[in-house]
């Protein structure tokens, strides 16, 4: 069974080339993935992310529940503030990555489409007595790019959008507008009721915001050094070997979230790390290619052509001591590459220029 988001007809009307993604029929591009990517880096683009799962958690136990189940700590959140975190299993492996907002009356989690059932089951299994889960259908549109805020303000007349800080949200009637995204550019993600969402999509299109598909979403997030669940990290990898150790809140030490004991043991002595990779020869880095480094072999978790940098970049899981020049086995030929610290591109700027 493939599901359609409420914007399905809007995608067809915009010439979307539809593909199956995690059980959803979604636009991979609307013609040129590179043009959509460039629109987000230089102007504004928008993505339908309604396939992601929005779970509202309310009730007196909601905070204790979240503090017991995710690796980052929601206790520090102010109302309307959000954080990024990993949901771990007992072995410290990542079940999913998610964004959690503290709202006036509870919490809102946004989790991946591909992990929806797994996360709902895991939440139900570990639920506390006095709390509720609600999963209501909404449209979620990510509007991203240096002109995203300006364009959204113009079509909605919502005031003070530009004063919203990163990782803060603003409720507006039935909408929730978060200054978050998955592109490395400024922008917002808007969650709103279905009819209003369809109308907003059209208004943004009329205002010149380019619809962008899953293809551009992938090249943008990879340039921004952001992981894709299921590819750069999964149930067999911990946050500490996935370049998201910063999302683990170790204090207070008595907060015993699921997976803590396992990753505590790995803290400071993980044998692997997730790093960035720049290809210096011609070719394209791809998932699963072997990386040969000064400290042993590793593997590419994500690879692509970077439309902003015009060469190939990737993420790779390599031995802890690996640095500098390395080689990648592309169809039996060894190509020159270099290990770097992601991100590659943020706010339109090249951060890893080739030597």
């Amino acid at each position: 069974m493939t599901e359609k988001t409420p914007l399905y007809d809007s995608h067809l009307a915009a010439g979307g080339r539809m593909v199956d993604f995690a059980g959803w029929i979604m636009p991979v591009n609307y013609g040129s993935q590179i043009e959509e990517h460039t629109a987000v880096r230089t102007d504004a683009g928008m993505f339908d992310v309604s396939h992601m799962t929005i779970i509202d958690i309310n009730g007196p136990d909601a905070e204790d529940f979240l503090r017991s189940i995710i690796a980052n700590d929601v206790a520090s959140l102010l109302v309307n503030q959000a954080l990024y975190s990993a949901l771990l299993n007992e072995a410290g492996g990542i079940l999913d990555d998610l964004i959690v907002y503290r709202l006036d009356d509870g919490f809102r989690c946004v989790v991946n489409a591909s992990t929806r059932q797994k996360v709902l089951d895991w939440f139900a299994l570990h639920a506390y007595a006095d709390m509720t889960f609600a999963h209501k259908p909404q449209i979620m549109i990510a509007i991203q790019g240096p002109k995203a805020i300006q364009r959204l303000s113009a079509v909605t007349a919502i005031l003070l959008l530009d004063e919203l800080k990163p990782f803060y949200a603003m409720p507006h009637d039935d909408w929730l507008i978060g200054r978050t995204g998955y592109t490395g550019e400024d922008g917002v993600e808007v969650m709103l009721p279905v009819e209003q969402g369809i109308r907003l999509w059209q208004q943004l299109r009329d205002a010149g915001v380019a619809p962008a598909g899953l293809g551009a979403r992938d090249t943008l997030r990879l340039e921004a050094g952001l992981n894709l669940y299921g590819q750069d990290m999964d149930e067999t990898t911990s946050p500490l070997v996935s370049n998201i150790g910063w999302t683990v809140a170790w204090n207070p030490p008595e907060r015993n979230f699921i997976g803590r004991a396992a990753i505590e043991a790995q803290r400071g002595n993980a044998e692997e790390k997730l790093v960035g990779l720049v290809l210096e020869d011609k070719g394209i880095l791809r998932h699963d290619q072997k990386v040969i480094t000064n400290a042993g072999d590793g593997v590419i978790t994500s690879g692509t052509y970077s439309p902003s940098l015009e060469y190939s970049i990737g993420l790779a899981r390599v031995p802890k001591g690996a640095t500098g020049e390395c080689q990648v086995d592309i169809r039996g030929k060894l190509k020159k590459a270099r290990l770097v610290k992601p991100p590659f591109v943020r706010k339109g700027k090249d951060l890893v220029s080739k030597s």
Binding site: Q33, I34, T304
Partner: protein, 131 residues
């Protein structure tokens, strides 16, 4: 709807082959194939002088999203590769049947061309994939 010119022959794997006046065969990928791939960003060509069988892997075309093999539609020797694609791989998207050609083969048996699909049969292959 993609363009499928009548003067070429096609492989079910989406290469086209055109017999030139000098007896060589030019090879590229179809309009349908370039549309399905999306923006082409890298092309790996066969070595000049390579002797190749029909259906054998002769190169790789990479779009932003994926890598796809290119197969030789006829037997023979690779005598020329398109130098333009090294610096301007997007030519494959812009002009798949013209400037975006991949390589030329000196065929060892012209009868191989008769085994390939004509435009009408190839259109059926594309239709079947789209539905």
């Amino acid at each position: 709807m993609s363009e499928i010119p009548n003067e070429m022959k096609y492989a079910a794997t989406h290469e086209w082959a055109r017999l030139e006046e000098d007896g060589t065969v030019t090879v590229g990928i179809s309009d349908h194939a370039q549309q399905a791939l999306g923006d082409v960003v890298y092309v790996e060509m066969p070595e000049i002088g390579l002797t190749i069988s029909e259906g054998e892997e002769a190169g790789v075309v990479e779009s932003v999203k994926a890598a796809s093999d290119i197969y030789a539609p006829v037997r023979g020797e690779v005598i020329e590769v398109n130098p333009k694609l090294d610096d301007a791989p997007e030519t494959v998207n812009e002009d798949p049947y013209g400037e975006g050609w991949f390589f030329k083969i000196q065929p060892s048996d012209l009868a191989d061309l008769d085994e390939l699909l004509d435009a009408e049969s190839y259109a059926e292959v594309c239709d079947a994939e789209d539905h």
